[in-house]
């Protein structure tokens, strides 16, 4: 390997070699690595906007009563916070950034199957996000429906719902096309010798995710168009005053939006599954169980949507059937946790930042998952449904889970992306602040939720004050952690990174950092007796 590298003729993908230079060279590039990075920058920007909106909410909620702005502003802020964080940050999230950057490297491909379609997906993403953001500044004021757009409120409100809904619709297409691209890439472009059951587990998780993207997203697309049709053409789909059924909306919405949770979390699990063996220098424990549990989550995840609707007045039969199915989906998640922890047994563990974030992920994901159990059970759900408890639960999954996995993934693949290292100490500090801040921010919400604090409240009863104040200070710590992380990653150039800084075994660690444009000089192969995680 070393000998080869010294007279490597191929320039790195970060060097402009085509017709254009600078920004244009990036915007016209069909290189999966550049597209992955562009998604990353865009997502970081949107995430920052979402965080600022979150802080604005926590400021308003510091005391009961009105502090800095009125209820209409609050309702607009929590709506756009949700739309930005869900549709432009966590749904594309890990799949768009690291699916693009790492997937072809990990399976030994030169690019994804349809590079131009891939760039088109990115533009759709930018367009959809721009429309969603523009909804804030056009028409009759920012939408105030919550990211769920529940009918009939979303049909009746005078605010600018159509633009936000249309933005989400366009973002959906970006998601579908990315999913399709990845499925074809994994079926057609794996390295010689890499059978499906020799594929690394991050690609496996992307495979399960991609099928949800392709099969579930069209349903929400249709549903969003129905809202637009109802608002413009007064066709009564959902609003009872037009002859529609508001519960039908909830079914259609959650048939997509519950599986969407797995679009977010499956790639996160996949990233953790890569990081643990690398830093424990140990073969992953239960390879097949992890691969199959991804598929199990993706398929059972389709049949649990109505657990968002236990109090909607559904029949008792529907309620217990969905409760039972919901509990079944807990099992494959538990399997993964057991396998991760067992992989550490008798390993040789080096606690570097990516591993630290992976440990944080496992802990926060366990809390998120376990607090989900009382949301899946009927009697307990009735009490905490639509309260701050739910807010805490899904932030533990979506931010503690997906967010921390995202941070872990950045710290893991950063040397490969830029060919540079970052300051390890600073990275560890970012973890300390993010982890402490996160728990201080969201754990009190479990408690006030149990006490009866409803969600989406601009004002609240005095008994919830202390909980909200703890959350505010947690939010401040979290922001500090995030800023430290941005400084660590982007403030100055670190030392040159070796090709394989962590001792990983998957293909991407065998090529130069940063990789050349076409990834592999010599196509990699897996021998008959080789697997993806053969540590010595």
């Amino acid at each position: 390997m070393t000998e080869e590298k010294t007279h490597h003729p191929e320039p790195s993908y970060l060097v402009d070699t085509g017709k254009y230079k600078g920004l244009m060279a990036w915007l016209t590039s069909t290189d999966h690595k550049r597209i992955g990075l562009m998604y990353m920058y865009a997502i970081m920007v949107f995430f920052s906007v979402g965080v600022i909106l979150g802080v604005l909410m926590r400021m308003e909620l510091y005391w009961p009563g009105q502090q800095i702005y009125g209820p209409q502003a609050y309702n607009g802020i929590f709506t756009i916070h949700g739309i930005i964080m869900i549709f432009t940050v966590v749904i594309p999230g890990l799949a768009a950034v690291f699916g693009n950057f790492s997937l072809p490297l990990m399976i030994g491909a030169k690019d994804v199957a349809f590079p131009r379609l891939n760039l088109f997906s990115f533009y759709l993403y930018v367009l959809g996000a721009a429309i969603a953001l523009a909804s804030q500044f056009m028409g009759n004021g920012p939408p105030d429906t919550g990211w769920t757009f529940y009918a009939p409120y979303s049909i009746q409100t005078q605010t600018n719902v159509v633009a936000a809904v249309f933005g989400a619709f366009v973002l959906g297409f970006s998601s579908i096309l990315t999913g399709l691209n990845f499925i074809v890439t994994m079926h057609r472009m794996r390295a010689p010798g890499m059978t499906f059951f020799k594929m690394p587990l991050f690609p496996w998780s992307l495979y399960a995710t991609a099928w949800i993207q392709v099969l579930a997203t069209p349903i929400v697309g249709i549903t969003l168009l129905m809202i637009i049709a109802e608002r413009w053409l007064r066709i009564g789909f959902f609003d009872p005053s037009l002859g529609g059924d508001p519960i039908l909306y909830q079914h259609l919405f959650w048939i997509y939006s519950h599986p969407a949770v797995y679009i977010m979390i499956l790639p996160a699990m996949g990233v953790i599954t890569e990081i643990i063996p690398t830093f424990a220098l140990r073969r992953i424990f239960g390879y097949k169980a992890i691969a199959i549990s991804s598929l199990a989550i993706a398929s059972v995840g389709y049949f649990v949507w109505a657990h968002h609707m236990y109090t909607s007045g559904m029949s008792t039969t529907a309620r217990w059937v969905f409760s039972l199915l919901t509990f079944l989906v807990a099992v494959p998640s538990a399997i993964k946790v057991f396998n991760w922890v067992t992989t550490m047994y008798k390993g040789s563990i080096s606690v570097k930042p990516p591993f630290l974030f992976a440990l944080g992920f496992i802990f926060l994901f366990m809390i998120g998952g376990m607090t989900g159990l009382s949301l899946g059970a009927l009697a307990t759900n009735i009490h905490v449904h639509d309260t701050a408890y739910v807010v805490a639960h899904f932030h533990y999954i979506v931010f503690g889970g997906v967010g921390f996995a995202f941070f872990a993934a950045i710290y893991y693949w950063y040397p490969k992306m830029y060919g540079r290292m970052y300051n390890i100490k600073m990275a560890n500090w970012s973890f300390v602040f993010l982890f402490t801040g996160f728990n201080l921010l969201y754990f009190p919400q479990f408690i006030i939720g149990m006490m009866g604090m409803p969600r989406r409240y601009f004002d609240y009863l005095p008994q919830f004050t202390f909980g909200h104040q703890l959350s505010f200070w947690g939010g401040i710590l979290l922001v500090i952690g995030f800023v430290i992380m941005l400084i660590t990653l982007f403030s100055k150039k670190g030392a040159k990174a070796p090709d394989n800084p962590w001792g990983g075994r998957t293909f991407e660690w065998n090529i130069p950092s940063p990789p050349p444009v076409e990834n592999f000089d010599i196509m990699p192969e897996l021998g008959v007796n080789e697997g993806p995680y053969d540590y010595k």
């Binding site: 529940y150 009939p152 409760s323 538990a334 563990i349 366990m366 059970a377 009927l378 009490h383 639509d386």
Partner: protein, 301 residues
């Protein structure tokens, strides 16, 4: 004894689920941190490659499966009575309207507070005319959505006298967080006396009935206080500064202005209010009704 007949079952389900969860959370975290310490590269420079173990995999599929089925069961048994209302339950109709709860007792008597007798089954029939609300009484561990165009219900037996919060948990617009009231649990005698003293559906002027029916009074008070927007009291004949097509002008509130602001709220917008705050009532309130409203407004100067 819990505040309602459901508290015990629901709280038991919580304890079982939280108990099992806490055991696993602490257990797994401890084992994980121990591994990180014990097999740290400093102490354990050479990893040992362990082979997959089918027995282990099988165990941690079946044990969680059994445990979650147990949780499902406890959740179900505590929930199931919530949907079986005793035949002799006292029926009360709950009307959810942006952003006020109203409780209608037998004979059409209405109250803004839910008063119920101790140790008697009460059935709440849930009704909404506008958007989805959800009636939540945390102390009783009950909640059910109030969906326009759908029938839904809930019931309970209050077991402790006292006053408890009643909240709305499905987001319903501007003043969602103010859609709250109390439920008061009193002895049977007190309840009977209270119900008797509750005034019959009052002979309110037609105009006020229309204003209340359309929840206008949710934002515009009739006593001069400011809720969201201008109070109706003293509105008729008042001079207001409005913005029309971007230019400011002064108008006097008269019949024509009131009609415009109900049917086309954003046309002449009072200075200081954002567009879109109020929806149009065209097709909802007829002109005939509007004339009655104007007649009423003239009376509350």
């Amino acid at each position: 004894m819990g505040a309602s007949n459901f508290v015990e079952g629901v709280d038991l389900a919580f304890k079982i689920i939280f108990g099992i969860s806490l055991f696993f959370l602490v257990g797994i975290t401890t084992v994980m941190l121990y591994f990180v310490y014990r097999y740290n590269r400093k102490r354990h420079p050479q990893a040992v490659q362990i082979k997959d173990n089918n027995f282990l995999e099988f165990t941690w599929i079946t044990v969680p499966l059994i445990l979650v089925l147990l949780m499902f069961y406890y959740g179900y048994v505590a929930f199931s009575p919530m949907r079986n209302v005793p035949k002799d339950a006292i029926p009360i109709t709950v009307i959810g309207k942006m952003w006020v709860w109203t409780f209608e007792y037998e004979g059409g008597k209405q109250s803004p507070v839910l008063v119920v007798p101790l140790n008697k089954a009460v059935k709440l029939n849930l009704h909404s005319d506008d958007v989805i609300h959800s009636l939540y009484i945390p102390a009783f561990r009950i909640k059910e959505d109030v969906v326009p165009g759908k029938k839904n219900y809930m019931w309970f037996i209050a077991q402790q006298p006292g006053e408890y919060d009643v909240l709305c948990t499905v987001y319903c617009g501007l003043r969602h967080s103010y859609m709250e009231t109390k439920t008061r649990v009193v002895s049977e005698e007190e309840y009977a006396a209270w119900l008797k003293a509750l005034p019959e559906k009052s002979a309110e002027p037609d105009g006020l009935v229309i204003l209340k029916k359309n929840a206008c009074t949710g934002c515009h008070s009739i006593d001069g206080s400011k809720i969201v927007s201008t109070s109706f009291k003293g509105l008729y004949g008042k001079t207001e500064k409005v913005v029309t097509n971007g230019t400011e002008r002064s108008i006097t509130v008269d019949d024509e202005y009131i009609m415009t602001s109900v049917y086309d709220p954003d046309k002449d917008l009072v200075v200081g209010y954002p567009k879109g705050l109020m929806k149009t009532y065209r097709g909802i309130v007829t002109e005939d009704e509007m004339n009655k409203v104007i007649d009423y407004l003239k009376t509350i100067k």
